[in-house]
């Protein structure tokens, strides 16, 4: 049972996360997914600690941050990774300060940020499927380099990434976003999205069966498999050229 649910969860995220990840790589904002998840978790914790609705607080604070990020134009002088990295660091430290002042919030954040593919249940699968589909749809819109376009893209990212992180954990989501895109990266540009999805799916299946057969933790096994698959893919392509 747990094996099949884990497999379903991994395959589900490998349908939409690599595609969004390629967009992230193109715009060079690798840390944004972590920053958004961090912000949402802090919002949730603050909401619960203030005896409010955690989800509402999380949604509002994430939306605010999305708007703030969208203020930064695509072609700006500042190196984007630096900005995103700084944003992640800032979100983490603010989260830390918030938690230092609100001791009851600890448990909530732990639950959220430490998702595990072993613990995925039916409702989470459905939420991820719906969110992923919505995010794919939104990201396929003409997200030009104007304010509204950027809001749509970062909003899509938030919708896709946050439920996924809470369901299967940050590591798996981060790896799914970045590694398949890097595997099919072709001379400064993204490769075909279908190939990225294929890499992710193959790695999920191999990783899970490997972990099940040899009694290894599943998330780590899938990530290692993804790294190996990515390297093999690139090696084979280089060899063929």
């Amino acid at each position: 049972m747990i094996l099949w649910f884990s497999l379903a969860a991994c395959l589900l995220v490998s349908l939409f996360l690599p595609v969004l990840g390629q967009q992230i790589l193109k715009r060079r904002v690798i840390f944004i997914d972590l920053a958004l998840a961090q912000v949402a978790a802090v919002g949730y914790a603050v909401g619960m600690a203030l005896d409010g609705n955690g989800m509402l607080y999380a949604a509002v604070i994430t939306a605010v941050v999305v708007v703030l990020i969208a203020l930064l134009p695509e072609q700006s002088d500042l190196p984007k990774e630096a900005v995103m990295g700084a944003l992640y660091a800032l979100a983490a430290s603010l989260g830390m300060m918030a938690l230092a002042m609100l001791p009851h919030a600890e448990g909530q954040m732990m639950e959220l940020l430490f998702g595990s593919v072993l613990g995925v249940n039916e409702s989470e699968l459905i939420i991820m499927a719906v969110a992923g589909a919505l995010a794919l749809f939104m990201s396929k819109q003409r997200c030009g380099d104007h304010f509204l376009g950027r809001i749509v893209f970062y909003g899509a990212l938030a919708i896709a990434v946050v439920p996924a992180i809470y369901a299967v954990g940050v590591i798996l989501v981060f790896a799914m976003l970045v590694m398949p895109g890097l595997a099919v990266w072709r001379g400064g540009n993204n490769g075909p999205a279908l190939h990225a999805v294929a890499v992710a799916a193959v790695a999920s299946v191999c990783g899970l069966f490997f972990s099940s057969y040899f009694d290894y933790p599943p998330s780590s096994a899938v990530v290692v498999c993804m790294a190996t698959t990515a390297l093999l893919w690139r090696a084979i392509r280089n060899f063929r050229r």
Binding site: G85, L99, E106
Partner: protein, 421 residues
């Protein structure tokens, strides 16, 4: 007023010494009494065991219900099962830490270099208490085909709460220099430190005295030291030994049950013998660290450091001013995975143009703790307009940009040491 002050000082001195002396005496007597009591206990149990064991056991068993477990004297339980571990057995604790670091560096001036997981560094760390008052720690590092005694120092607990470390040691300047590289979350050395001290760790041979003060909810530590160093970036470029002194203060406060904040400042001063004169090198800086660690190992840290070096180039000559700094954020994604991001910033004053040459770098990386004894770190670092020391370390031309990818695998064998904070 002067008279009152004298009286007060005299009273304080008298009382202080009386307290100390009386306290000492009482302490001594306490210890002696305890030892005597222990001896008596041992003799008693030995006598009892020899003569009364069967009858005592039977008598006690009759009185209480048969399920109650008697507490067995410590000697009997632990003799057969006590395994002497590590440094409490009289042998030093020996651990070997192997660090395999592969790297791929591309400069925008066309230079490239790569290495694939060579055994870049093996550290043999020996440590043990010599006697109740002192301890010896030795680190022998084998790297690039050479073996060197990188650290070998005696830690002694002196009176009045002062600790002394004498010997060769990584100097406690800033937050990074004192730590063993394999214990850092990132796989390289921060650019700011490379520009300050060069790619090698700033090591000194000498004496360090430090004293921790427990003030309310905080720990304040004051350190002073005098040492000789052969550092050729901060001091004498010919690599000759120069003497220097240092002073340092760090304070650690509890913000809450799970969060702490640390602040610190350092100052180092010594002759650098440039152009065989009495020119001086001065280094000053400060650092901070915010750490949050809750009950489930969710952990965030934010730390930063800024160091500035004034290096007189001979008496009456110019002074070269260099800054090196970094800002590091880490977050635990999981029990075993951590993400980190670091921003390095260095500057060098150029007297010719009266301006500053600036270098910045941003790194991001993932650290995977496979188990307590193994870990892998993957790090990407992008450096812009590298200054001289960093350029030399990366193998690119001065002023160029460089992208570096590091993969480090650390394995450790030996006793399971305590986790650092």
């Amino acid at each position: 007023m002067r008279y009152a002050r004298m009286c007060f000082m005299l009273a304080a001195a008298l009382l202080g010494s009386a307290n100390a002396y009386a306290g000492n005496e009482i302490e001594e007597m306490k210890v002696q009494v305890q030892q005597l009591m222990k001896r008596i206990e041992m003799l008693e149990t030995a006598a009892k065991a020899r003569t009364e064991t069967p009858s005592v056991a039977a008598a006690e068993a009759k009185e209480t219900s048969p399920e109650i477990v008697h507490s067995i004297p410590a000697k009997q339980v632990s003799n057969t099962t006590h395994v002497a571990m590590g440094e409490n057995s009289g042998n030093p604790s020996i651990s070997v830490v192997g660090s395999f670091t592969g790297s791929r560096i591309r400069g925008n001036d066309g230079t490239r270099s790569s290495s694939f997981l060579p055994l870049s560094e093996a550290e043999f760390i020996f440590g043990a208490r010599i006697d109740p008052h002192a301890r010896l720690d030795v680190t022998v590092t084998a790297a690039n085909g050479t073996m060197a005694l990188e650290e070998g120092f005696i830690t002694a607990n002196l009176p009045w709460g002062v600790n002394m470390r004498a010997g060769r040691k990584f100097l406690p300047v800033g937050q990074v220099n004192e730590k063993h590289p394999h214990a850092l979350i990132y796989a390289d050395r921060p650019n700011g430190l490379v520009n300050m001290f060069g790619p090698e760790i700033f090591i000194g041979d000498g004496v360090l005295l430090d004293r921790p003060f427990f003030v309310g909810d905080s720990v304040q530590t004051v350190t002073a030291g005098y040492f000789s160093t052969q550092n050729d970036v901060a001091f004498d470029p010919t690599g000759a030994s120069q003497y220097a002194g240092m002073a340092r203060w760090t304070g650690l406060w509890d913000l809450s049950d799970s969060a702490t904040v640390a602040l610190g400042g350092d100052y180092v001063q010594g002759k650098n013998g440039i152009a065989t004169t009495d020119a001086m090198t001065r280094i000053g800086g400060g650092h901070f660290a915010l750490k949050y660690q809750d009950m489930s190992q969710l952990e965030f840290t934010l730390e930063g450091e800024w160091l500035r070096r004034w290096q007189q180039q001979g008496i009456g000559g110019t002074t070269a001013v260099n800054d090196g700094s970094y800002l590091l954020a880490t977050a635990a994604l999981n029990r075993n995975w951590q993400l980190f991001s670091r921003f390095d910033y260095s500057r060098q004053y150029n007297p010719a143009t009266l301006g500053w040459l600036k270098e910045s770098a941003i790194s991001a990386g993932l650290a995977w703790k496979i188990s307590e004894f193994q870990g892998i770190t993957l790090q990407y670092k992008r450096t812009r307009s590298a200054l001289a020391a960093v350029a030399g370390d990366l193998g690119v031309a001065v002023g160029s940009n460089a992208n570096a990818l590091y993969l480090r695998w650390v394995v450790a064998i030996g006793p399971h040491g305590a986790h650092p904070y």
